[in-house]
């Protein structure tokens, strides 16, 4: 190291780096700093022994403490499940009609239900529960219910689902395809009549012609005045809400080749407490109905 450069002012060696005549001194590091550095190495070795560290082909070394983030989550989940156990038991036991009177339990159910909803329901019904009209996923925020809007009705729907083969108790709606049964003119006429039921723009003459066809073909499910029938899941045709669109084209398309909503049964997958919780949440979204006796 013959080419060492010494700074004349301080007597300290320079690194040889030079920026516009300013040279960098190679001042010795404080020794405690080095000890601190060695300390971190020792810490690292201990850490590697105690905790998961080296990546292997399948997984990683587990460390002698056996700690893992998944284990933490499992423990936390277990802890929460344990602390919620009492509430869940009460929720399963409570009379659904009286749930709202029990404020604490109701709040618990709604909050738990919100989380269940986001996990299992939002894929179709949307995170805000507004549904997707283009796909026929119903809006759960309004006051129109295909199968009933009391909490008991909602619990049944969630538990057994709709039009699925997995649950014999599933709700089942059926509408025939009228393409071929009715002529094109007849389908257009019925559509005009249907639109007249909710005061939408229509051809009065065609609607009058369609009226008889409606009574013959549709009224058995949708009712003479188009109010629908919740027992068979027939939608109300006289209100402002259209599951699959209220335009002339949309209604005609539904007449020719109806699409039917399908929902899986959640009773076994979620368990009674979660079914009730998510139902309480949906019931509280703004359209929940009270039993008629109230």
């Amino acid at each position: 190291m013959a080419d060492r450069k010494i700074d004349p002012e301080t007597g300290t060696e320079t690194t040889g780096h030079d920026w516009d005549g300013i040279e960098e001194l190679n001042t010795p590091l404080p020794r405690w700093w080095l000890w601190t550095f060695y300390g971190t190495i020792v810490w690292g070795v201990i850490y590697v022994i105690l905790f998961p560290a080296w990546p292997l082909v399948n997984g990683a070394t587990s460390g002698i403490l056996g700690w893992s983030t998944r284990g933490d989550v499992a423990a936390e989940t277990e802890r929460v499940a344990l602390s919620n156990a009492d509430m869940n038991d009460s929720l399963v036991a409570v009379d659904l009609a009286a749930l709202e009177e029990n404020e604490d339990l109701h709040r618990f159910a709604v909050q738990a239900g919100a989380s269940v909803f986001r996990t299992y329901c939002s894929q179709c019904h949307g995170a805000g529960a507004a549904g997707v009209q283009a796909s026929g996923y119903p809006n759960l925020l309004d006051d129109d219910w295909l199968w009933g809007g009391t909490i008991e009705d909602i619990v049944y729907t969630v538990r057994h689902g709709i039009r699925n083969e997995d649950d014999p108790d599933a709700r089942w709606s059926e509408m025939p395809a009228f393409d071929g049964i009715l002529s094109d003119e007849e389908i257009t006429a019925v559509t005009h009549h249907v639109r007249s039921l909710s005061d939408l723009e229509h051809d009065a003459e065609a609607a009058a012609f369609g009226s008889d066809l409606y009574l013959d073909n549709c009224a058995s499910c949708h009712g003479d005045n188009g109010l629908g029938d919740r027992f068979v899941g027939a939608p109300n045709l006289a209100d402002a809400i259209w599951l699959r669109g209220g335009s002339q084209e949309a209604i005609e398309a539904q007449l020719r080749a109806p699409r039917h909503g399908v929902m899986p049964p959640w009773g076994e997958r979620l368990g009674e407490a979660e079914v009730r919780a998510v139902s309480a949440y949906v019931h509280g979204l703004g359209g929940g109905e009270r039993p008629a006796s109230e």
Partner: protein, 546 residues
């Protein structure tokens, strides 16, 4: 040839194998001597006041009524609340804390531009606690010379006894320091009992443990190393000081050439010095006092400056530096060297202030014996007789360095934020209301064709008892308001809590609000007990163009 040299920390003190300098250096121990004087007294006063504030504050009580803590200063982390005497800061009012932090930052700028590193020298916790630890050390182990002897002594019974006593005393201070900290976060008397009976939460013990360790190590062993190697402030301050900033410095034009010359005054030398303008060059034009003008002479007869090279300034320095070498990053401007030098100047009958608070631009235009490498910031030097300009020179008074445009601007900015915070404190609403329109979806069509919007209203009750709040609506058209679960439009908010209330607003199909894309809406909230009202404006979303 590749020259690899492995250096281990334990090899530092042995002679290097080659002529390469060591990569690592051990800390040079520092044994500051006791000193008395103005600045030492000031530092003791600040130490007592700051430590007093730190230790006593959590124990001050403040009655806030039922359900609220009666501790004057309390950071309630679990309740997300900060109590400061009559002020109560909620999380959404954190801008008060941000404002205080900005004021602290600006205050640091202000003090640095006016007085240099006065924070480092007097108020920094590292300085205050190191000072306290040094005092304990001096009390147990003796003053500088005794401590140097003890340091060099072998580890016999006496050394062990002194060291263990000192460490025990430090540890006691450290525990008290860490212990006082946690009292800011919980009711102090309750926590103290819990701590003693081992019922306090683990985090309290852990915090005390960590702060005890840091206080013990940083105050007892790291000391000036913290300032030199760990703290960014010494690096930042260079950008904040200017030549007009007051800082601790050495009047080299007065002190040099230094030397242990004859202290005996010689009238002839004095007369000669006055005649040659020497005294004026050294002390400034204002100095006419014959006493001040008396020169010192070395044995060879040459005239010496006032510095007798006694090293008192070095011996008292807690940073282990020689202030006579000029501005240094290590200097925390604790001013103890001023006290030490003043003491010496008094003994030899010279005016005080050879080392003093001065600004770097406060130097005579040309000074005797000035050379570039002693005065890095000095003006051009020559050994010629002092010029007339030097004889007319007078140092600027201290206040001229403090009241400068720069410091005045800082002061106004600082005070402006302070006034703003106080005003904000007085005009902040008693009712806290936030309205969050639900945007997923923006509106819902109901079966009769009416349009419904949902809003999440958050109401804070800052009082110590439950309060009913009435929620009302004001809009141009007719809109219906409904509160989920509250048919009478009144919400009871529990004491000291925030309540979330879902509100539905509905427009009938024939109303303008239903067909318009957006219309304005105002929520009014009234505290039914105090009658206070607050409002917030928001938007109602309609069908719009379809």
């Amino acid at each position: 040839m590749i020259d690899i040299k492995v250096s281990f920390p334990w090899t530092c003190e042995t002679a290097p194998m080659s002529d390469a300098p060591p990569l690592f250096a051990a800390r040079e121990p520092i044994f500051p001597r006791r000193v008395r004087g103005t600045f030492r007294t000031l530092k003791w006063a600040i130490l007592i006041v700051t430590l007093g504030i730190y230790y006593i504050t959590p124990w001050i009580r403040w009655d806030r009524g039922p359900n609220l803590p009666d501790q004057a200063v309390l950071v309630d982390l679990a309740g997300r609340r900060f109590y400061f005497f009559w002020i109560e800061i909620w999380p959404h009012e954190f801008y008060f804390v941000a404002g205080l932090l900005i004021m602290a930052g600006l205050g640091l700028f202000l003090f640095t531009s006016a007085l240099g590193r006065v924070w480092c020298g007097y108020a920094c916790p590292q300085t205050v606690w190191s000072d306290l630890f040094y005092a304990v050390e001096r009390w147990i182990e003796g003053d500088r010379n005794a401590r140097i002897r003890l340091h060099d002594a072998t580890w016999d019974a006496r050394k062990w006894r002194l060291r263990l006593t000192k460490w025990a005393a430090w540890l006691a201070i450290a525990v008290a320091t860490g212990g006082a900290w946690v009292f800011y976060f919980a009711d102090a008397p309750t926590l103290l009992v819990d701590l003693i009976t081992l019922n306090a939460p683990f985090v309290a013990y852990a915090t005390i443990g960590v702060l005890t360790a840091t206080t013990f190590v940083l105050g007892g062993f790291m000391r000036e190393q913290v300032c030199i190697y760990m703290c960014p402030w010494p690096r930042i301050q260079g950008a904040m000081m200017d030549p007009g900033t007051l800082t601790v410095g050495y009047r080299d034009w007065r002190g040099e050439p230094r030397g242990k010359g004859g202290i005996k005054r010689r009238q002839e030398a004095a007369a000669e010095a006055i005649g040659g303008g020497e005294a004026k060059a050294r002390y400034g034009a204002a100095v006419e006092d014959k006493d001040h003008a008396a020169g010192r002479t070395a044995r060879d007869g040459s005239i010496l400056g006032d510095c007798i090279d006694c090293n008192a300034c070095v011996a008292v320095c807690p940073m282990g530096i020689d202030i006579r070498e000029g501005q240094q990053m290590e200097c925390i401007t604790c001013a103890l060297c001023i006290d030490a030098c003043d003491e010496v100047m008094a003994k030899i009958g010279r005016p005080r202030g050879l080392i003093d608070y001065l600004a770097l631009d406060d130097r005579p235009p040309s000074v005797p014996g000035d050379t570039a490498d002693v005065h890095p910031l000095g003006t051009a030097s020559d050994d010629a007789a002092p010029s007339a300009a030097a004889a007319d020179w007078t140092a600027q008074p201290v206040w001229r360095h403090i009241f400068r445009l720069r410091t005045i601007i800082y002061t106004f900015a600082w005070a402006g934020i302070g006034v703003g915070l106080v005003v904000a404190l007085f005009i902040r609403p008693e009712i806290d209301l936030t309205v969050a329109p639900v945007r997923n979806p923006t509106y819902v069509t109901l079966s009769d064709g009416s349009i419904r919007n949902a809003y999440d209203i958050r109401l804070r009750n800052k009082h110590g008892e439950e309060r009913p709040f009435h929620i009302a609506l004001r809009a141009d058209g007719i809109l219906r308001i409904e509160l989920e679960g509250e048919p009478d439009l009144t919400v009871d908010v529990p004491a000291n809590e925030t309540r979330l209330q879902r509100v539905y607003v509905t427009a009938r199909p024939q109303d303008a609000a239903a067909s318009q894309e957006r219309s304005d809406l105002r929520f009014w909230v009234e505290d039914l007990v105090s009658g206070e009202r607050a409002y917030q404006d928001t938007i109602f979303n309609g069908r719009g163009q379809e």
